[in-house]
Symmetry: C2
Subunit: 198 residues, 2 copies
């Protein structure tokens, strides 16, 4: 490469990030060089600050600067409902709807043998411990309707069976506003299977 | 946002980068939190290092850790050819072919009134000064065949007219391996206009 060594090193580091290919890594690095030095400095310090201050909530494994997160500290929520999700982003997605008032449990991933992710690496045993202390009335397994999401939900459902807690899964079906003609067969099949009497 | 403040700040900084939308910014930030702290540290230091060490070559405005870049320092190149490009990435693209042995001049952008980029912001007057001292025999205006690239090439060609230096532009035409049936009309029209006797 003809680029100076320090620039190549930055490009190399950026390329390793998810969703950042060689083209975007190069574009980002060159963009930062053109901008005032303060911008790189504030990006670097934001990076270090977030990494140093943000931890996983010791109860639900969402993100927090405190040992226990904002949601778990909120006593006004509904203790009878626990929503199990794969990723902190999923918590935000559900909170955005504004109608769920229960608590969460973030698994930190989904079972995926192809990517070497097995149940032991996820926060499943932490979930079981949590349930022993404070069992909710219903657990919503809100993982994505993908192979990994379904596998993880089934695995957890089987583990939870002996507890007798009601276990639910998000409905599969057509997206609201979707066009039947453009809906893929798998989704349409699910929509048929999950149909409900009016 | 429910995320901790330090995390939101990092996401905000990442969102400002070109090619990084809110979704990717969130994904990158969460990825870095899951990875060992050393990774964030080495990314932050690569960023600061590249920004502090890399400068623009004072001759051609390519990138260099020295005042004058590697290409300009290379005496074995052909002084009769000067290739004018918009961006340092374009230098790499042309060097990758391996057959161009002249020198470069990086404009650091293209004229684009819509984006508030006018000739004065580009390295055009630096190009004129360079030509006074060491005029090449041919200047290749290797800007992209876009409105901005064409405008910039025409603007520079007009400025260079009085110097009497031969001015060329990269050929427009069909991409090698391209299918005539799939080629857009504008490209096909260019290919016809630029046709050459065999």
């Amino acid at each position: 490469m003809l680029y100076p060594r320090s620039l190549n090193q930055l490009i190399g580091q950026l390329e390793r990030l998810p969703g950042v290919g060689p083209k975007l890594a190069q574009r980002l690095a060159l963009y930062l060089l053109r901008r005032p030095e303060e911008e790189s400095e504030s990006l670097a310090s934001a990076l270090l600050m977030a990494r140093a201050r943000t931890h996983f909530c010791e109860n639900c494994f969402f993100l927090s600067e405190e040992p226990v997160c904002e949601i778990c500290r909120d006593n006004s929520r509904d203790t009878s409902l626990l929503c199990v999700v794969a990723d902190p982003r999923d918590v935000l997605a559900i909170e955005r709807i504004g109608s769920f008032r229960g608590y969460y449990h973030v698994l930190q991933g989904l079972i995926s043998p192809a990517d070497n992710i097995y149940p032991e690496q996820l926060k499943i045993s932490a979930l079981m411990q949590r349930l022993e202390q404070n069992p909710p009335q219903e657990i919503i397994l809100a993982t994505s309707p993908t192979v990994e999401g379904d596998t993880t939900a089934l695995y957890i459902a089987r583990l939870l069976k002996p507890t007798g807690i009601k276990i639910t899964r998000l409905a599969h079906g057509m997206p609201v506003g979707g066009d039947l003609d453009y809906t893929d067969a798998a989704t349409l099949l699910s929509a048929l299977e999950w149909r409900r009497e009016l």
